[in-house]
Amino acid sequence: MSNMFLNTDNLPFCKGCGHELIARNTTRALEKLNYDPLEVILVSDIGCHGIIDKSMNTHTVHGLHGRSAALASGIVLGNDNPGSKVIVFMGDGGTTIGLQHIMEAARLNLNVTVVVHNNYLYGMTGGQTSGLTPIGFKTTTSSEGNPFGSYDICKLAHAAGAAFTSRVAGIGDISDKLALAFSVKGFSLVEVLEICPSYGVKLNPKRKLQEIIESSGKKPGEWTQHREEFVAHQTHKTDNLFKDLPAIKKSFNAYLKKPLSVVMSGSAGEGVQLAALLLSTSSMLSGLHVTQKGSYPVTVGVGFSTSEINLSHHYIRFHGIQVPDIAIITSADGLAHNRKKIELMETGGKLFIDSSLEVPSTNAKILRYDFRGLGARNASIFAVLYFALKTCIIPTASVFSSIEQLGKSDKLPLSKFKEALARA
């Protein structure tokens, strides 16, 4: 064996392929750094370079096309063994597919080295153009020469935050250059330039590697910046999500003969969801079971804001509301969104609606009030108090109590609410 990292002298590459040079120099570099094979985790991508796995005595992980930098990032994030070294082998095709993954690993400065085997084309799949193919280079899919320039992966990774990047011509002994990258604590990337003997040489017969490097403008070099490597620390802020969840104790009595469904609707930003929470909490304070769900457009700051609430003396299994028993409407947005439901409401139902709004045709009993007169942001919250007052299902005191328990007393005009209730 040429060294302890390889289990064979016969590496599985085409004659003259730069991948063999990279593989042998990688193992040489690791020996120079005194790594043991099982201290190394080699993550390979899809592509000719990836068939090195079987020849390696390291741990090997063989993933998907273009995703190996992200897969290796996960290993780094989970690795609590500081002696382990994670190395990624990927081609220029995989680099093109998984550019985002390399940028993210560089941005976080994860402790990993990516070795880009840049032979200027997708080799295993038949010699197609990649994002790292230089302008004018011929491939099976650009027989007249690639019309576009290539990514500068070293500068991109550097700009994203990589601690170290370098571009190396795949000629001669490059083990010291690889060792330099492997010894970086943080993200490092080495782009090794080579020509695929099966497609690159045949399609570009008179061109030499040095000439291609010169004409591409992507010359060998190093780019460094001092950054601390990212170490994943524990992030949890609590060891129990129930710890701060307040128990809501029955302190009032509810008067409810049968389960009740309520739809509350107004405009986004006008406190509808808070009002619904107050109704739910005060109902629980009154000994009832509740369900509550919000509904609003994707842009949460505009348009309607609706909440559906069910109240019952028993645990509520089904929380869907087709036609509500009670509708509380505090704005034109809320009315427009619920008009159909209101029109379907039956005798015995109640519609609480702001006095500025047109009343739709409905069999429900209409209760109009100038909710918005207390301010648009207070309309729905006061409507809950008004609902409590007029239906007597829950006491208004339970609503004031829930306001206090939710820490909203200082933010709401409680004395105004009380005056308005006295007049209502």
């Binding site: 090997t60 995703r67 609590d80 063994n81 620390h233 739910s280 509740v290 299994r317 089904f318």
Partner: protein, 375 residues
């Protein structure tokens, strides 16, 4: 265990229950990104999980999770169809590598972006066909707050025991609805235990040599005693890429067999058998609560009806068709267009006594189910 006294209730959503359950069962990390309606899970995970990391996209999420799983961690994430669709190749990778993780899939109305804040049950057929080759990846579907406590822990346990990704299937209507709830009704959750490689044998570790339960011993890729090879490509027991050798194909076949071999350990369903009933309502997920109400009302009015709520959807336990075949009239209620549970059970050969109550963009009401039973 909890901070409430007997009889006291809290107002909570199922996202909180799911996250706490996953953490107590042994989830080590949450990898996530924002997607409605899974954002509450993301928020709670940022407070509760031992490690929480924001990934830049869906593919990165699954790749990071797989890497974490390779080091012996149990990662989880939460997403919805648009994100899940982008994860599927990487889920296949984790499945092939036999690395455990839990993915909470919160169903919402499609197609495509659809309506992010509208519930649905339209992803079951996708889950049935997601592994190239036809393998089943375990899928557990919740249908109550109790389930949202118990099944996430079972998902963690199953993922570890079978070395596989597991999907916990829920819906916007479940994870974004708050309810009054008695935390004292929740069972204690034990942390799932992990066993590492069979070191006692003294033999060279074969990463994909199955044990008696058809699951290979696991060794983290960052230990330094035995060589580990993990691969997404067709491979032999050593984890070396093979074209289609007998050993490699046996390994690929084993991936299907191992889940079915242990299916009894993670078969969850409810069967409420009504004596002398000729009608059966079958429902899962977010429609199951409606089915409970419907069946209760039918029985109350003397129309004897039984109820079957499958929770382990994949692999599909034989007990479901066995129960269904006992009834003269069967209603399958689920919130999608094409009766995906029926397709799962019978494909094109749906029995003539089975009817479908479906819906799109609206929850199925108890009355709809009652009408189907009566019609």
């Amino acid at each position: 265990m909890h901070e409430t006294s007997k009889g006291e209730r809290v107002l909570t959503d199922a996202s909180r229950l799911i996250t706490e359950s996953l953490a107590r069962a042994g989830a080590d990390a949450f990898i996530g990104y924002p997607i409605t309606p899974a954002n509450l899970l993301y928020k709670y995970a940022s407070e509760r999980m031992p490690l929480m990391l924001a990934a830049p996209d869906e593919i990165t999420t699954l790749q990071w999770m797989t890497g974490l799983a390779a080091t012996g961690k149990l990662p989880v994430t939460a997403t919805s169809f648009p994100g899940y669709a982008l994860m599927i190749e990487s889920i296949n990778m984790a499945f092939m590598m036999e690395l455990p993780m839990v993915i909470v899939l919160v169903q919402r109305l499609g197609p495509a972006t659809g309506t992010a804040t509208c519930g649905a049950q339209g992803d079951l057929s996708l889950l049935r066909g997601q592994i190239s080759g036809g393998h089943s990846l375990p899928v557990l579907a919740t249908c109550s707050f109790q389930d949202c406590w118990e099944l996430p822990a079972e998902a963690v346990k199953t993922a570890i025991e079978l070395r596989t990704p597991v999907v916990l299937l829920t819906s916007k209507e479940e994870v974004m609805t708050t309810k009054s709830f008695d935390l004292n009704s929740l069972k204690n959750i034990r942390k799932a235990t992990r066993k590492y490689g069979d070191d006692a044998s003294g033999k060279k570790h074969k990463p994909y040599q199955p044990a008696a339960n058809l699951v290979p011993w696991f060794l983290p890729v960052n230990q330094q005693d035995q060589q580990v090879r993990l691969t997404a490509s067709t491979h032999d027991q050593m984890g070396l890429l093979q074209h289609s050798t007998e050993e490699a194909l046996d390994n690929t076949l084993r991936l299907e067999k191992k889940a079915k071999h242990s299916l009894d350990n993670f078969t969850f369903y409810e069967y409420h058998q009504e004596k002398n009933a000729e009608n059966l309502v079958v429902s899962w997920g977010i429609t199951a609560p409606s089915a409970r109400v419907a069946v209760s009302e039918l029985n109350h009015s003397g129309e004897k009806t039984s109820l079957l709520i499958p929770k382990t959807l994949l692999p599909t336990p034989q007990i479901y068709p066995d129960i269904i075949h006992r009834y003269q009239k069967v209603i399958i209620a689920e919130e999608n267009l094409n009766n995906q549970l029926g397709d799962l059970l019978w494909g094109m050969q749906k029995p003539s006594n089975c009817r479908f109550a479906g819906s799109l963009g609206k929850m199925i009401t108890p009355n709809q189910i009652i009408e189907e039973v009566r019609s």
